[in-house]
């Protein structure tokens, strides 16, 4: 997903353009670029990084202009480099283009152009557009004709916006299956991926549909069908909603949106570059490995510790990034694998710098491409979860757990701890998970909501789990703390009777993460923790898989999940616990997406 913005006006539009593209940053933010018209010359600035960072670094706002286009990019595949950043230019620098979508026949077009002697500077599909324009303009001598002809040659999906020095007062744009919209202001006309590109300036929008192109000037807009050439009268739509709502895709909060996106992020996590995984596995094979993260990602690392032990028979200690330097366990033979959504977490960067200084190999699982962490490590796995806007991490953490599970299975396969058959079974279980999560979200939300609402005033929660369910308990408790501001403490089930049991009374409530009954020993020992609490008239909410079990009477309340293989059972419980924290927070009217005392990426030490 990318964001497009453009503006043409009677006055200087550089500030409007900046605001427009900044408001589209939720569509992606790994690199950014602008093209501005300066009398009959195009000024192009672009670089990797977020919009504000880019504008500041390049001092873009010092260029004034009455016409310009901008682009913010979110690469899901491929590299984030300055060359690959939009706008793309033709060789003669007469045409500048921004694009959202995928031109499926670009290889073909590219090799044809290359035969004509055109030199390409980027690896993108987009670059064929300006080069084609240059060529077709030479043939027709008319920009609009060339534009229509060019559109006829493109296959795939696109929203494309073009400016040219031959028409310094006009923006040309067109769409096919990627979003595009005009904003009709009095002094300025806008174009954008959605109305967030101009909502601050005008509420009058014209929605562009498939196979339509637009000639946009500061006073008028003409819309035509680029197949039939027919002109189309487009009504102005009044935008009556606020931009926040639309960015959230109709969800009340980003957190819920991102929880609902988890089936997709898991699919993406299962499709990460296999070579990137194997490169890390190669490092792990004969190196002591340390798993590093902080906050949620520390619990992800703890989770991975159990997974590597269980599947690959290896013990990889997990260390909270902020404590890493104090422990300083590394030397030139070790590997440090860092986990971070933003790739900018100060504590994690510090830990990795320390590891590098000691000569250790480094690797990372990161969501944001081009982040500091992704650039500083030897090997990087990009999790491809898409932008995570809510400060509370949900989908990114779950995707990291899936990738680490896959990594452990690959290591086990390589070291012959696992057969190919077992590996395939594991992958199948992971692949079935998105659908199950989708069902759980649909069919369990009401139960979770009811319980959250009934117990919203409980001040203290104990979250208990044994084995791999222990890190799930920790992460679930953290969700509760950070979004609902309710005290929740994660603890191993067996630890309880060594002191903490003294705290149990009718005011302390517990959540117990029950393993599936097929994990007999773990199941029985977890059950004994439940009995210990019940014996002291403590309240227990059981999250379990045991639809017809005879032990159900033990729980004061229960949330039942469908039977799944043990490999994915803890992940399913985590989804439930995320919703439990979410509904507790909404019942308590908390500011879900921006909880107090927390920033999206903690870049301070």
């Amino acid at each position: 997903m990318c964001g497009i913005s453009g503006a043409v006006g009677h006055k200087d539009i550089s500030q409007d353009l900046f605001e427009g593209i900044r408001n589209l940053e939720y569509r992606g933010y790994d690199s950014c670029g602008v093209a501005l018209m300066n009398s009959t010359k195009l000024i192009v600035r672009k670089n990797i990084g977020g919009v504000e960072e880019f504008y500041q670094k390049e001092n873009v706002l010092r260029h004034k202009s009455h016409l310009g286009i901008a682009h913010t990019r979110w690469a899901t595949h491929g590299k984030v480099t300055r060359e690959n950043t939009h706008p793309m230019l033709s060789t003669d620098k007469a045409f500048a283009v921004v694009h959202n979508g995928i031109i499926s026949n670009y290889r073909e077009l590219r090799s044809k152009l290359q035969k004509d002697g055109v030199k390409f500077v980027s690896e993108t599909d987009t670059e064929v557009v300006p080069h084609l324009m240059q060529k077709l303009f030479k043939q027709t001598g008319n920009v609009e004709k060339a534009f229509v002809k060019m559109l006829g040659m493109l296959e795939g999906t696109y929203a494309v916006v073009l400016i040219t020095k031959y028409h310094p007062d006009v923006i040309f744009c067109a769409r096919k299956e990627s979003p595009l919209m005009l904003g009709i202001g009095d002094e300025v006309k806008y174009v954008g991926s959605d109305f967030n590109a101009f909502i601050e300036h005008t509420k009058n929008a014209v929605i562009i549909e498939d196979e339509e192109y637009v000639v946009l000037t500061r006073d008028s807009y003409t819309v035509k069908n680029f197949i039939t050439g027919e002109e189309i009268q487009k009504p102005i739509t009044k935008i009556e909603w606020d931009s926040e709502t639309s960015k959230k895709g109709g969800y009340p909060h980003y957190m819920l949106k991102e929880i609902y996106e988890q089936p997709q992020t898991i699919l993406n996590a299962l499709e990460v570059d296999e070579k990137a995984l194997d490169d890390v596995v190669d490092y792990m094979k004969d190196r002591p490995t340390y798993l590093v993260g902080v906050g949620t990602t520390f619990y992800v690392a703890k989770y991975a510790k159990y997974i590597f032990s269980r599947l690959a028979g290896r013990f990889f200690p997990s260390i909270s990034s902020d404590e890493f330097v104090a422990l300083s366990p590394v030397d030139r033979n070790s590997l440090v694998l860092a986990i971070s959504q933003s790739g900018e977490t100060y504590d994690t960067l510090t830990a990795l710098k320390h590891a590098k200084a000691k000569g250790a190999k480094t690797a990372a699982i990161v969501n944001v491409i081009g982040s500091t962490l992704s650039r500083m490590v030897d090997r990087v796995i990009l999790q491809g979860s898409g932008p995570e806007i809510c400060v509370i991490s949900t989908k990114a953490a779950l995707a990291q757990m899936v990738i680490l599970t896959n990594l452990a299975m690959r290591l086990a396969l390589k070291t012959r701890k696992m057969t190919k058959k077992e590996y395939n079974e594991g992958i199948r279980a992971l692949k079935e998970m998105p659908e199950i999560i989708g069902n759980v979200l649909n069919e369990r939300s009401g139960f979770i909501h009811r319980i959250a609402n009934n117990y919203k005033n409980i001040k203290h929660w104990l979250y208990l789990g044994r084995g791999i369910y222990y890190p799930v308990a920790l992460e679930s408790a953290l969700k509760m703390k950070e979004v609902a501001y309710v005290h929740a403490e994660g603890m191993p089930g067996g630890f309880l009777k060594h002191g903490t049991l003294a705290m149990i009374d009718k005011d302390i409530y517990s959540v117990v993460f029950m393993p599936p009954p097929c994990e007999k020993e773990l199941y029985q020992s977890t059950l004994s923790s439940v009995a210990e609490i019940r014996a002291r008239s403590g309240f227990v909410l059981g999250i379990h898989f045991d639809e017809r079990g005879k032990n159900r009477d033990l729980f004061s309340e229960e949330l039942i999940l469908p039977a799944v293989p043990p490999l994915v059972a803890p992940l399913l419980q985590l989804v439930l616990a995320q919703l439990f924290a979410y509904f507790t927070a909404t019942s308590l009217k908390r500011n879900v997406d921006k909880p107090r005392s927390l920033a999206k990426s903690v870049t301070v030490g």
Binding site: I239, W241, Y251, G438, N442, S445, G446, F447, H449, R450
Partner: protein, 400 residues
């Protein structure tokens, strides 16, 4: 956008209160439910309201009046025979222009925050038909919705039995296109089947997270009352209200014009006292009590979590708790609505010869309009008194 409110139904489960009025005409937390919804519609930018009426329509039309209501244009459309929801919707077919979208509202739903605003916002951002959805305390009575990640509704399961579903349910607020009438008539006015077809065309969900209630049973009126009172942010006492000495107020209290509160009365908020009410000496009005307009409450009465409609009177030294009292009800002196069973088992309410388990450990009586309760009656928990019924007084000593 035009709004269509469905207010024609008989709502038999809301008896005895629906016997004598359309359910939106109930007074709750000091306001008529219908007015409350009109206020929210106006605040959400709606100008034109079509109301489908039928059962006891004169009551509604008389109070609201045709044409303009505080700047809203209100039109009434009659549904002659109250057969189905689909049929009710069809009554407004010729009032909606081709290509136009309209906001459809079930008249008996209640929210404290503006659900109409939210539904319209969702419609504008999806640019497709929208159904509002919410999470109710129980799923059995509603259409259970399955969603995908893009908030598209993929399936609706109507009124599932048992306790298997914890889905979001249809909240009774929609934005639908004029073409929906064609879909409805194609499916013989079956709302269920028409919605199924809408799903195939693309129906998006608008998630509602605040309180939501479908007023089905008489005890739901008490829940509605508490939901609205919990949304209050301030007390209001009309200039013309008279508060004598030693009147104690605590919490959020609303007292309307011309009400007289006699000396020694205690009002614990949230509670509301309607226009021209008389509240006798030493009366205790406890929280979540709503007394309608022109009511009279005698000396030493205790009121607790109850809703009293207009023009009723409650005799001295009575207790009314967890109860709903209709309009023009006359309750004699020393009457008590007993509000729990001796063993604390949930109270059962008899309706149409069936006992309904309310699940509520505390519940009093439901007394229909114009009923007369003679002095000295002890009323069993969950009792329903039909409108206009007279219950003789109970004397322990008589002159015979």
């Amino acid at each position: 956008m035009k709004a269509v409110i469905l207010a024609a139904g008989k709502s038999p489960k809301l008896s005895p209160f629906s016997d004598t009025r359309p359910s939106p005409m109930l007074n709750v937390a000091g306001r008529c439910l219908f007015d409350h919804n009109l206020d929210m519609l106006r605040a959400s930018g709606i100008n034109d309201v079509l109301v489908v009426v039928g059962h006891k329509q004169e009551k509604l039309i008389q109070q609201i009046g045709e044409h303009r209501f505080h700047g809203l244009s209100v039109q009434f459309v009659e549904q002659k025979r109250q057969t189905s929801i689909g049929d009710a919707i069809m009554q407004v077919r010729d009032k909606i222009l081709p290509g136009e979208y309209f906001l459809l509202i079930y008249g008996d739903i209640l929210t404290s925050e503006n659900i109409f605003n939210k539904t319209q916002q969702s419609f504008h951002s999806f640019k497709s038909p929208v159904a509002s959805i919410c999470l109710p305390p129980s799923n059995e009575m509603f259409g259970n919705v399955f969603l995908n990640a893009n908030m598209r509704i993929t399936r609706i399961v109507e009124k599932p039995k048992g306790n298997e579903y914890g889905n979001y349910v249809l909240a009774g607020v929609y934005v639908l296109p004029e073409a929906f009438f064609d879909v409805l008539s194609k499916h013989k006015r079956s709302m269920e089947k028409a919605m199924k077809e809408m799903i195939d065309h693309g129906l998006r969900a608008s998630m509602w997270e605040d309180e939501w209630l479908d007023i089905v049973y008489p005890w739901d009126i008490l829940t509605a009352n508490s939901i609205l009172m919990d949304s209050w942010e301030q007390s209001t006492i009309a200039k013309t209200a008279v508060l004598e000495s030693n009147v104690t107020l605590s919490g959020l209290v609303r007292i309307d014009e011309g009400a007289v509160i006699k000396a020694g009365a205690v009002l614990e908020g949230p509670c509301s006292i309607g226009k021209g009410c008389f509240i006798g000496n030493n009366t205790l009005v406890r929280s979540y009590t709503a007394v309608g307009n022109q009511c009279s409450v005698g000396y030493g009465v205790e009121l607790k979590n109850c809703v009293v409609q207009d023009h009723s009177s409650i005799g001295r030294l009575s207790f009314i708790g967890d109860s709903v009292i209709g309009e023009k009800v006359d309750i004699g002196a020393s009457c008590v609505t007993v509000n729990r069973n001796i063993d604390w088992k949930p109270v059962t309410v008899r309706q149409n010869k069936k006992g309904l388990d309310t699940g509520k450990p505390k519940l009093g009586a439901f007394i229909g309009d114009e009923a007369v309760i003679g002095a000295g009656n002890m009323i069993q928990p969950g009792t329903v008194v039909a409108p206009g019924k007279t219950i003789p007084a109970r004397y322990t000593v008589t002159n015979r």
